[in-house]
């Protein structure tokens, strides 16, 4: 393995703490991901990417920077990757998924803040995320009050730009978002010295749409019974989508899908055909948050889909066709974003329809709703999800948890009982 210590030191990482993080990650990866039975061969690439999680990809970003390119960090599906790419910059989803960085964050942020926010911020404070260190600036958003305020504080430690995401999917909301896209475009042009043209943006959008299409193909493969891939592996692939090179990633996901489609023909999969099928819905799960998938799949069920920002809300819609002008393309991006049914919107009944459609299309025996503790938008929206599913007689298990392992025993009891209930 290449020694990246010099690069990490140059990035200002806390090397000792970072070693501990990588060690913890590697042991988790071994016991949770690599220990699964009957994994697709094409997962090798994604295992390699995780093996190099703070190595090769960071090196690529550094090479890009040494040639004068910029790196832009982000935490949310509302930040348009294609716009960033059109400025010749590389967008990268930042570390936000582990308890490891939470204690660091709690030195500054209130404890009663969701784990995702604390984890993100803790990576800066503890200097343990090379992607954040390597980013020229971060683009935050206003998808919840906690993040909104955290970005203000993050801005004291790292260059941060916040774009506003509207709260309603109205024409006015759309105009607001469009204006925010124009603002981000300007800022990107200032930072990179590159003028974003219609051609550049069209090319970037088409690349990102290609990635979304590949992920849709993976998602569709999971309709099969037996599912050709575990929920853990599919989730892992989606997680990697946020920081890997777009073109390479797309090619590798398509190669994985070729294999999965073969498996479907042969009726092959990591779980038997009669394993209960679970749809997951709710908060995003950033690397290495595999906690709930693991509990569910350890209990013998298979997760067949994620109605989540690290799931269908990320790749479900394409930007698609538009009039080809720069303004028209920005409009298409805004339109697409307003069809991303995040709980930050009110009302957000389209999300309920999405969940019903996924539950029936993917033949889910039940839905597990996952809310991070202190995530008020998803935790409250869970009430409507519960009522909607009850009307359709679809069993639902509501989970509220965080990144720590202290409640795994309780989670297992609830998941086991839920599966015993739907197995009948």
């Amino acid at each position: 393995m290449t020694d990246y210590r010099e690069m990490w030191a140059e990035l200002g990482l806390d090397l000792e703490k970072h070693d501990a993080l990588l060690q913890a990650l590697s042991s988790m990866y071994g016991s949770i991901i690599l220990s699964q039975d009957n994994r697709p061969k094409a997962m090798d690439y994604f295992d390699f990417v995780i093996g190099e999680i703070h190595g090769l990809r960071v090196q690529e970003l550094m090479d890009h920077r040494s040639k004068g390119g910029k790196v832009v960090g982000l935490y949310c599906v509302f930040v348009p990757e294609d716009l960033i790419m059109a400025a010749g910059a590389i967008p990268v989803g930042l570390c936000a998924g582990t308890q490891f960085s939470v204690p660091d964050a709690e030195e500054v942020l209130p404890r009663n803040t969701c784990a995702l926010i604390k984890s993100s911020f803790g990576f800066k404070l503890g200097r343990t995320c090379p992607y954040l260190q390597a980013s020229d600036f971060v683009v935050g958003e206003t998808t919840c009050d906690g993040k909104k305020k955290m970005y203000e504080i993050l801005g004291e430690y790292h260059p941060t730009y916040v774009m506003e995401v509207p709260q309603k999917k109205t024409p006015l909301g759309r105009e607001l978002f469009l204006d925010e896209l124009r603002g981000l475009k300007e800022r990107l042009e200032q930072e990179t010295g590159v003028t974003i043209t219609a051609e550049r943006l069209a090319e970037a959008t088409s690349l990102v749409d290609g990635k979304r299409r590949a992920l849709q193909r993976l998602h569709n493969a999971r309709k099969a019974r037996p599912a050709p891939i575990s929920g853990l592996d599919a989730l892992l692939v989606t997680q990697i989508a946020f920081y890997d090179d777009v073109a390479r990633f797309t090619e590798k996901v398509n190669a994985l899908c070729d294999e999965l489609e073969g498996r479907i023909v042969g009726g092959e999969g990591p779980f038997p055909a009669d394993a209960p099928r679970v749809l997951l819905s709710g908060c995003p799960m950033a690397i290495p948050n595999w906690k709930l998938h693991r509990v569910i799949e350890d209990s013998g069920a298979v997760v067949v889909g994620e109605e989540s920002c690290v799931g269908t809300r990320y790749f479900g819609n394409l930007t698609g066709k538009n009039d080809g002008t720069l303004e028209g393309q920005l409009r298409a991006i805004a339109d697409r974003q307003l069809e991303t049914h995040c709980a930050c919107f009110t009302p957000n009944d389209e999300r309920l329809e999405d969940i019903l459609e996924l539950a029936s299309g993917w033949a889910a025996d039940g839905v597990v709703h996952y809310a991070l503790q202190f995530c008020h938008t998803y935790a409250n929206e869970a009430v409507k999800v519960e009522r909607t599913l009850a009307r359709e007689n679809i069993p639902l298990l509501r989970i509220e948890t965080d990144y720590s392992d202290e409640d795994v025993g309780q989670l297992k009891t609830r998941v086991d009982a839920f599966l015993e209930m739907i197995r009948r």
Partner: protein
Amino acid sequence: MTYAGLDIGSRTIALVELDERPEGFVIVDTGPNPLQRCRRLLRGKAYQRLVATGYGRGLVAPVFAADSISEITAYAVGARHLYPDCRTVIDVGGQDCKVTLLSDSGEVQKFEMNDRCAAGTGRFLEVMARVLELEIGELGDHALSAKDTVRINSLCTVFAESEVVSLIARGANCQAIALGLHEAIATRVAALARRVGPRERVVFAGGGALNPCLQRLLSRKLSVELTVPDRPQAVGALGAALIARGRTRSDGADPGGPPPI
């Protein structure tokens, strides 16, 4: 030819042996090494089938070649066996609290369980009994003898403990504090129960059901009569034993469902 159910809870381990009818019943403290306790409990025993439930089921089941079932299903099966018209099970255990709604035919229809912490559980009462220098078995009667009550605002075991300490420092009466603590936990359990919409008959089980004050308050808050079995802490082990017997008879074809009793 016997069957057994072993419920490895956070505070106690219960073993129920079963042939045509329940034959043996043992309950011991879980302690720091539940596996060792179970070994001692099962020494020299041979069952046609053993089913483990409770927190320790994953730890214990592989060692004794036992099957495992969640305590939610186990309590449902046990309660239904004791009371065939049971539609709701409230289980206040050592570290959590569960309310389960059963269908007409006894299947688990819906359940709720406390999140993450020990709020509203037996552990909460244990910690508070210690602060008041009472045995856990005395706490309920002590509370019932109160002439008035105080309001305990915090349901977090840690915060409630400091709240109780400050109430003591202000000279509040010990019985009133005890009653206030029971009010707090009963409110919490009743809220959980309302989420599933309890139907009668409501069986109150788990170690918490041994507490007479909790019985009374919970019954009042839910406006229902609660049925408390003779050994409420053993209902899960009984359910597991019944599942062991049922599985054998039905060739294990239906691991989740209630046994043909």
